[in-house]
């Protein structure tokens, strides 16, 4: 059972639709007990960082999520991935969950169109069970204006957008984050969600 954390994030239902389609048992929940009992967690998210952190704090789940992330897999998606880091300066400086060392800032290039919107190719930096059964090249669907900045050791994949954008990250343990939307990245994105469900077993 995967607990999809419900703090009114916009892509909550897309994530749930994708898991249902794949036949992966899950629930959308804001209940700490349900999260403790689940085999894994998914943190969705779209919109602005401080608003999302405020909503997440509003559920009272932050300490539970951080404690459980030491024991079972957690996948943050899009803004949910950015929230795994220590802080962001989107709109106003704001603390994140601090599960992966690093911070979130606006995409620095002055040459590219912002937001980074559309399908970009993943460049694999480290092997991971999340890539199982996926034939390269893999294009994934991105839509964001801010990006993570972190040490290379946390990078599983990046995307080239006049600079390397962290696309798939990990803390080296149970915590994973996808800047792109696997739930909107067609067959290969679905395969990645399937792989995440396998990791939980």
């Amino acid at each position: 059972m995967i607990a999809v954390i419900d703090y009114s994030a916009g892509n909550l239902f897309s994530v749930s639709n994708a898991l249902s389609y794949l036949g992966i048992e899950h629930c959308m929940t804001m209940d700490a007990d349900a999260i403790r009992k689940a085999d894994a967690m998914i943190l969705p998210g779209v919109g602005a960082f401080p608003t999302a952190m405020e909503s997440l704090h509003g559920t009272g789940l932050v300490s539970t999520i951080c404690a459980e992330a030491k024991k079972k897999p957690l996948l943050g998606i899009c803004l949910g991935m950015q929230m795994l880091f220590e802080e962001s300066d989107e709109v106003t400086p704001c603390k994140g969950l601090g599960l992966i060392p690093g911070s979130v800032h606006r995409i620095p290039s002055q040459k590219v169109i912002i937001p980074h919107m559309g399908w970009n190719e993943l460049e694999i930096r480290q092997d991971s069970p999340l890539f199982a059964g996926i034939d390269l090249p893999m294009y994934a669907y991105f839509v964001h204006s801010y990006q993570a900045f972190c040490d290379n050791r946390y990078l599983l994949a990046t995307a080239d957008y006049d600079g390397q954008i962290p696309a798939l990250v990990t803390d080296g343990g149970y915590v994973f984050g996808a800047q792109f939307h696997p739930e909107k990245s067609d067959e290969k994105g679905l395969q990645m969600l399937r792989n995440f469900a396998e990791v939980t077993k």
Binding site: G10, N11, F13, S14, N17, A18, S20, Y21, V46, G47, A48, I113, I114, P115, H116, M117, G118, W119, N120, E121, Y139, Y141, V143, H144, S145, D160, Y161, H181, E183, K184, S185, D186, E187, G189, L190
Partner: protein, 251 residues
Amino acid sequence: MLAKRIVPCLDVRHGKVVKGVNFEGVKDVGDPVACAAEYNRQGADEIVFYDIVASHEGRGTFLDVVRETAKQVFVPLTVGGGISTVDDMRQALRAGADKISINSAAVKNPKLIAEGAEIFGSQCIVVGIDAKRNGKGGYSVYANGARIDMGIDLLDWVVEVERLGAGEICLNSIDTDGVRGGFDMEMLQAVCARVRIPVIASGGAGKLSDFADVFLQTDATAALAASLFHFGELTIGEVKADCRSKGIAVR
């Protein structure tokens, strides 16, 4: 490298696709869910559902189509037609849309762009614009299905749209729409040069090379077409193969 997007648009009336072709394997050509699944199979990068009636009574049926599609097609879905309030946006997003396209409502009430961006995020607010040459060397913005000249200059409007927080612009040239002689390169590039948000080219695609041409000649990041794909004259795969052969990155 970011791929250029090919975006089919499905015009929906009373829960059915307006006109349509016999896709192999699609039994009901009028079934929007089946058509969206077929476009997905062909490699569509996003799919747009446009409610051409946009009546209050027909809204539920239209949103049911979006809801069903979102359960089986996992690429971004955009919903347009008749969205004029934040509540309309919320309903469409809850039904499974990833983006909302607003057009006339944004021209008449620009605050709607800012409100939508504030609540749901810029990434889901697409501003559709119908524009036409004004005979004085510029372009005018039209509303109500490209029928009413709003007396607004296009290049001023796109700057305003970006400032208000739109995540994307879908630019339809009334001059080239339906003519099938290619996209309006001049108008598109004028807009691309003014804004930093992505611009989707719409209106005028008539043949295979039109898609590669718009990507080679303008900074548009996506190209949209309806009838060309509806009638099966071209598949999305054919369009992508042509782009790829000309060195354009596509998925």
